[in-house]
Symmetry: C2
Subunit: 477 residues, 2 copies
């Protein structure tokens, strides 16, 4: 529900509620059987007295729009309303069917809070704060990029000029050799992962992911019916031999890695292990999916070459995106690998959405070619490093030895372990009460007491207060 | 393969082929086991002498990159190449797994020809010709639309200002009442259909579609494991009682209709039947999916109100898009229905692609609000009507009583029946030889001898020549 009441209007508040609900019911947006919010909850949401809502529900009930039953709440009437009303569609049956799994409940809870916006400190969202997006640069790119000559459907693998630019970009920035025909442009890394799970794997297949991993909480793996097994991460990433073991025991068919500034641990898989896991994957004949959203957000002198840059046999599918380095709402990501595989993923994408809009692709193409993009990246990295440092200092000052963490050398997150025994669920609810959001470790498949803080979403000045607020929530438990 | 040879270069052509293939093999884009194009085919594609390709393949074989076996073609060697080469990934196993079905072979064949571009007359593609897109207007919208203030992720149902604009647009143009919270913005109508099949239906479910129907050829229904049953279309659309019968016999769970200027028949479901099918669907408790890409492309004085405009019980999911009326590469479509259903589809979309880019949404919002959009629509309709008339006249003059067809009062297509007995496959191949593309009826689930001609994709001046070329192909069989 997105409607707001007009408190300056002459129409009484209860009448405004009646009008809006009547409209939604008569428009078929609330079909017969729809359960309305309990009076107390709707009153909270609309910031009115509970009696105002009671009054509105009463009137609608009297007029036959609603049925109210003690204990089972208020539902849209199916007997007294509707021109043809007989056995209307039981939408619940449809909505609960299909193969889609909804999000992990804690993730859903946190997302809801983010979208409601009534939060002081967001340490949960894994994206940049508004001021870090290169807004002016993107605005400039939008103005200067050549307008597409032909507005017919774009090639199913994406806008060719962008794929050409990416081909050079991948070579220069990552030492990855990928020609335009072996690149598919996607709606961020998310769609690349979705395409892989839907096209290259079948329900019941086993896969290996890092433990902990953000992939653990992605319902798309559950929706695809995959069995997920963990590869424990130490300070240098996963231990390659574990993959061999999982292969023997569980017959894993694919290995998903986020080797650089891994989410949520912040660790980097070292070079020796990168080469070793590639060797193992090749000898077992199973592909590696390398998800690499953060390697360009590095605070180190030395850059880590992706596993893909060592891959000469086409064993690695490499995923990148502009979401963390430019803007999430641009929705530009990419995947590269053997041409036949990329073509297949492109065909599947065509079935799903008939290709990406040409506009974000022309903007991304302009952005990647702009000399200002490098300047933006330097600025972004400097800012992120400052925020990381500020958060580290605040954690030390405020929480001291109540928390243990290691220092990430890139990316957006710090993972900490609380030394006090607390339940994730309780702590999340307590912080929400205090208008702060963070990501609890259970979302990543860890036990209670782990916390992931994003240092990119809050301005530097607010970070210390955020940690203070967190500490307060922790202590009140 | 997208590479082209440089015929002005000093490097011999065979050497250019060697270099390109060596690069693709060493980059892992053609992993071991990849089957290369036969010499003759590659030679045709690159427009060189076959011996040039033979020479290139020979050199690469001698150097151990390729293996050539009589009868089984040329494959990338798995023994002599690769740093770690042991048991590389058998990509074929992965590519052929997953739940995705590829396109109907004839559709695939025609799409390939479209994308190769070596065609004189395209009567197949169901989109506007380049000159009919409102290019200047869109360019203007791109320049004037307010740049998004915040580049964070957009709401999962889409950019709110666009949903508000659509809410008014649907009311004014179609008499459909839909509030912004009951609208989901999609990547064209295609994604709306994909979301419905994936989220609201389960493998094995039966659905009803018009017979003939363009949905018949959409592999997304096969990919979702649905059983498809046809509702025969006469000159006034489907016969509502047939749906009742299908429900009893096959237990259909959803009815998909394209009631206005139906693709491919061009027919309009009359008002009486619209109300009747809605009544039946309601009494059976099964939803109607109303796909409506063409109703704004009407050559009639009187506009046909969508089934959705009569739906007060939330039984209809209504799909619209800007693809046929503005530009296909904008990729903006929408779906509206009961809020709980739309929310569920939005959640699923979130899992698939994390939402649409904000940029095409801001452009679409500007476009729909622009007074010039109506002017464009009038111009577009006038142009389309002229092309339709030209095609009708050409069909009469050139093919006479060799073809029977009825006159569509809107949309982009004419469906005809050839009076001569011909095989669809043979006729398609013959027209391709003559550099003309059309859509054969078998793609829509009809018998041999039906043809769908798009009159929107060719300029008026070329239509008569196109029909001439078609006639020539038909007669040479």
């Amino acid at each position: 529900m997105e409607w707001k009441l007009d408190k300056t209007s002459r129409t009484p508040l209860y009448q405004q509620i009646v009008d809006e609900l009547e409209r939604k019911i008569s428009y078929g947006e609330y079909p017969p059987g729809t359960r309305l919010l309990p009076e107390r909850k709707l009153a909270e949401k609309l910031e009115v007295n509970r009696m105002t809502v009671v009054h509105a529900y009463d009137e609608l009930s009297a007029r036959g729009f609603l049925e109210r039953k003690r204990g089972s709440g208020t539902i849209v009437s199916s007997t007294n309303w509707g021109v043809f009303s007989k056995n209307e569609t039981n939408w619940r049956r449809y909505v609960e069917g299909g193969s889609f799994r909804t999000s992990y409940p804690l993730v859903q809870r946190i997302r809801e809070m983010v979208s409601e916006g009534d939060i002081d400190f967001d340490l949960a969202s894994g994206e940049l704060s508004k001021d870090l997006f290169p807004t002016e640069l993107l605005q400039h790119c939008l103005k200067t990029c050549p307008f597409p000559e032909d507005l017919s459907y774009v090639h199913q693998q994406g806008f060719l000029p962008l794929r050409k630019t990416l081909s050079s970009h991948l070579k220069e920035a990552y030492r990855i050799k990928a020609s335009p025909s072996s690149i598919l442009i996607t709606s961020g890394a998310q769609q690349a992962l979705y395409l892989i799970t839907q096209c290259l794997l079948s329900p019941g297949d086993a896969i290996a992911i890092e433990a902990p991993s953000y992939l653990y909480s992605l319902p798309l793996f559950q929706s695809a019916g995959l069995r997920i097994f963990g590869l424990p991460v130490d300070e240098n990433g996963i231990i390659p031999r574990d993959a061999q073991k999982l292969y023997k025991e569980k017959n894993i068919r694919m290995i998903f890695l986020n080797p650089t500034y891994q989410n949520p641990t912040g660790t980097v898989l070292n070079k020796k292990r990168r080469k070793h896991i590639l060797e193992i994957a090749e000898s077992l004949g199973i592909p590696v999916v390398e998800d690499d959203p953060f390697s360009s957000l590095s605070f180190e002198e030395h850059h880590h070459k992706p596993i893909k840059s060592y891959d000469t046999n086409g064993n690695v599918l490499y995923i990148g995106s502009l979401s963390k380095v430019a803007a999430s709402s641009l929705r530009i990501g990419w995947i590269t690998g053997p041409e036949a595989v990329i073509q297949r993923l492109g065909e599947a994408k065509q079935q799903m959405d008939f290709g990406l809009s040409v506009f974000p692709q022309t903007i991304a193409n302009e952005l990647l070619q702009s000399s200002s993009f490098l300047i933006h990246q330097h600025h972004l990295i400097r800012e992120l490093k400052e925020r990381r440092d500020e958060m580290i200092q605040a954690l030390k000052d405020v929480l001291g030895d109540e928390i243990t963490f290691s220092i990430p050398m890139g990316g957006l997150h710090i993972l900490g372990k609380l030394n006090k025994k607390v339940s994730d669920k309780q702590l999340v609810e307590q912080t929400i009460k205090n208008k702060l959001l963070y990501m609890p470790g259970s979302i990543y498949g860890m036990g209670d007491g782990y916390v992931r803080f994003t240092f990119a979403r809050l301005r530097k000045e607010k970070i210390r207060d955020a940690i203070g607020r967190f500490s307060q929530s922790l202590h009140s438990l």
